[in-house]
């Protein structure tokens, strides 16, 4: 779907009341994985708001990315209980397998590696989110398996 179609679908679905700004931005992210300048401008026009204000809202929230993201956004929990459970080794395995550091996207735009604050799987850390899917009780071996699954699948 083209970007302007995505924005107009979202606007049709939610409307253009101020309250709907977040749902519309969230919808665009669900389709595009991130909010490009064009997307922000399109939303601003639809809501009859300044682009700066739309950007201001988007940049406040860590799940509304304003930088290009891969098809699979990996968010590793960096909070205390996951760290105690061995999060560093998980990070190492991810970085080694994907050949990127945290905050980066692979050259083929398939994976983005991020850290996030507590995700609420504290009793079963280390945990990570791949798009909407949760993985817990991770080990470096498990992580490599999971990545290979995504690499083969898409």
């Amino acid at each position: 779907m083209m970007l302007n179609e995505i924005v107009s679908t979202a606007v049709k679905k939610f409307g253009v009341g101020r309250e709907q700004l977040l749902p519309v931005l969230q919808y665009v992210v669900s389709q595009e994985k991130w909010l490009s300048e064009d997307a922000l401008l399109g939303v601003a026009r639809a809501f009859d708001m300044s682009a700066a204000e739309v950007y201001g809202v988007a940049s406040f929230y860590s799940f509304l990315d304003t930088k290009p993201r891969g098809d699979y956004v990996i968010r590793v929990c960096r909070t205390v209980s996951c760290d105690m459970a061995g999060k560093e080794a998980i990070m190492e395995a991810l970085e080694k397998t994907l050949h990127i550091s945290v905050g980066e996207t692979t050259a083929d735009r398939k994976f983005t590696l991020l850290e996030t604050n507590c995700m609420g799987w504290c009793a079963e850390g280390p945990a990570m989110l791949v798009n909407d899917y949760v993985y817990t009780g991770l080990t470096p071996e498990k992580v490599v398996d999971i990545l290979q699954g995504y690499m083969a699948g898409a």
Partner: protein
């Protein structure tokens, strides 16, 4: 006919419960077994997931833990078909089990249905007495009476503030304005807390019913649930439950045939911890940056779109139907003078049994850690427990007999918070721990107040240099000074409480800070910058295993001769220590 229930909360699914469920389903179809297969939520024993419960013809319950698809097949053949329970995998049944102590001291109000009913079925919720409380209220209670009952129960907001819920409801009821709103705060974000996620995943209708009762009491016709983006399953469950309730006429116009209207909308967060603060949450629902504002006016007078609004969190609402059905006295019978009822605690960190436990207020820390949580992992020593997340503090093991209630916890410098308990053992460095929480608040600060935005950054820098071995005389005083300024010059709870983890660790573990600063030593052997590894020459067999494992090639030595570590090259990864079979590598 037997009933088989599989726990399909996020904790179960991520442990592989979906595959277990499929395996059981397969077995039922393949062998044409006469049994009912159901899904359920989480019963709190997250450490034993995937969980499978078999209920036999006599209604006896047998709960199996860590059930892989293979184990599930055995259970189907042996227990379901041949009536021979597989004793070795049982974690709860008519026979005693080592896991029984997990439940012994619990009293379940909020978690009353979790892990028992199928959360995707409104019929099952109704069958356990669900939606009776709201019907009773609509028929027999005036709004004032509802508020009176909740006030008398002593229920306090479970999200962290601990304000009396009945009083809060009354403020909102009495506020001028024809249009009022209620909000359910499901933006649970404290590190170490996950009871709200589990409640929403395992018993969403109890929260909806609590909201209905509150809406009636306050005079609101619209409610919002603000749920965080990191909880996709909880959001899906809620959406489904709202559809079910709408279809039955429990939500919408004239609920349960009464003149009362009530509808609920879900708003999804987008990854901002500060949105758990009520004024920030309201801004976020309104489509703005989620920044807190100064209070007063409180939301009870000026909330969503400037209208009187009541905000409670998930756990608070889930208590409400139970209080109506069982009476405020029954609720107030649990707990202490100032803290009534029960509280759900999330157990995480270095504890044997990670999971959720609901206990009466007034229970001691030791009872939770040892009797329910099974003590510390790997037989290590209990050192401290972090309570209340980044707004809370570390309570040392020496205070383990402390009774948990709002007053007692506040006295320690920690707070009850949302009930996350992160347990630490002797290998946890308290300075590092404080650094962790400060990095969290620093990261999540919205940037509105200077002292929170910059003050936390400066504190974090000081902590970083202390754990890196570059701490200076005067750093402790500087931390205290910054803490004081941040606490007194910020407008919301996030900033005001941000220094707590540092202040409590300074209070109870000053010697650890001093050892880092003066002796460049980490007493817990945790801060890698302050560690050195060496090889005991008399214990080393010269097997070369450590040299091979070393990623930095820092270990030299010939075969069958003692090796040495070149500390200038060593990256302190600890691989040699893990590899050595002769305990020749030592950490200093």
């Amino acid at each position: 006919m037997k009933t088989i229930k599989v726990g399909l909360g996020t904790c179960g699914v991520s442990a592989g419960a979906q595959k277990t469920y499929e395996a059981i389903k397969n077995e039922i179809e393949l062998q044409n077994i006469q049994a009912v297969l159901k899904e359920t939520g989480c019963n709190g024993m997250c450490y034993r997931e995937p969980l499978v419960e078999v209920i036999d013809e006599q209604k006896n319950s047998f709960v199996y833990g860590e059930v892989t698809p293979e184990k599930a097949k055995t259970i189907m053949n042996s227990h379901v078909l041949a009536d021979e329970p597989v004793a070795e995998w049982l974690v709860q049944s008519t026979r005693p089990s080592e896991d029984d102590t997990f439940f012994k001291k619990q009293n379940r109000i909020v978690l009353r249905n979790c892990g028992i009913i199928d959360p995707s079925s409104i019929t099952e919720y109704v069958a356990t007495g669900g939606y009776e409380a709201i019907q009773r209220v609509l028929k027999e209670y005036t709004p004032e009476r509802v508020i009176d009952v909740i006030t008398r129960s002593g229920l306090r907001g479970r999200g962290g503030g601990g304000f009396l819920s009945g009083v809060k409801w009354k403020f909102c009821r009495d506020a001028a304005g024809d249009k009022k709103y209620i909000i359910c705060n499901a933006d649970e974000g404290d590190p170490g807390a996950f009871m709200d996620r589990s409640t929403l995943e395992s018993d969403p209708h109890s929260v909806l019913e609590g909201m209905m009762i509150c809406a009636y009491a306050i005079g609101a016709e619209e409610g919002y649930i603000y749920a965080r983006a990191e909880y996709p399953k909880a959001v899906a469950r809620l959406k489904h439950s709202i559809r079910e309730a709408l279809a039955k006429g429990f939500l919408g116009k004239n609920i349960f045939g009464s003149p009362v209207n009530f509808s609920v909308k879900i708003k999804e967060g987008a990854g901002a911890f500060v949105c758990g603060e009520e004024t920030a949450l309201i801004a976020s629902i309104e489509g703005k940056r989620g920044m807190p504002r100064f209070r007063p006016p409180f939301p009870a007078n000026k909330g969503l779109w400037g209208k009187p609004t009541n905000i409670n969190n998930v756990e608070t609402y889930a208590n409400v139907p139970w209080i109506i059905m069982n009476g405020p006295e029954a609720f107030a019978a649990f707990g202490t003078d100032n803290s009534k009822g029960t509280k759900v605690f999330a157990l995480a960190g270095k504890i044997q049994r990670g999971g959720l436990a609901e206990v009466p207020m007034g229970i001691t820390i030791n009872e939770i850690v040892f009797d329910i949580g099974g003590g510390i992992k790997e037989g290590k020593k209990f050192k401290a427990v972090q309570m209340g997340g980044p707004s809370g503090g570390c309570i040392p093991a020496s205070m383990g007999d402390l009774q948990i209630d709002y007053q007692q916890i506040n006295r320690t410098g920690a707070i009850m918070g949302s009930g996350g308990l992160v347990v630490m053992d002797e290998s946890t460095c308290m300075v590092d721990m404080a650094k962790f929480f400060l990095r969290f608040t620093q990261d999540e600060s919205c940037g509105k107040c200077t002292f929170c935005r910059i003050g936390t950054k400066r504190m974090l820098e000081v902590l970083e240099r202390i754990t890196d071995g570059n701490g200076k005389e005067g750093d402790i005083e500087l931390l205290r000074h910054l803490a004081y300024e941040i606490r007194n010059n910020t407008i919301c709870g996030l900033g005001q409480t941000a220094p707590n983890p540092v202040l409590t660790t300074l209070k109870y573990f000053p010697e650890e800070y001093e050892a880092h600063i003066r002796e460049k030593r980490c007493p817990a052997h945790s801060c890698s910058a302050l560690l050195t590894y060496s090889i005991k020459a008399d214990a080393c067999k010269g097997c070369m295993a450590c040299a091979k494992a070393c990623p930095a090639e820092a270990i030299t030595g010939e075969k069958k001769k003692a090796h040495e570590i070149n500390t200038a090259v060593c990256i302190k990864c600890g691989k040699c220590l893990e590899t050595c079979k002769f305990n020749a590598v030592i950490k200093n």
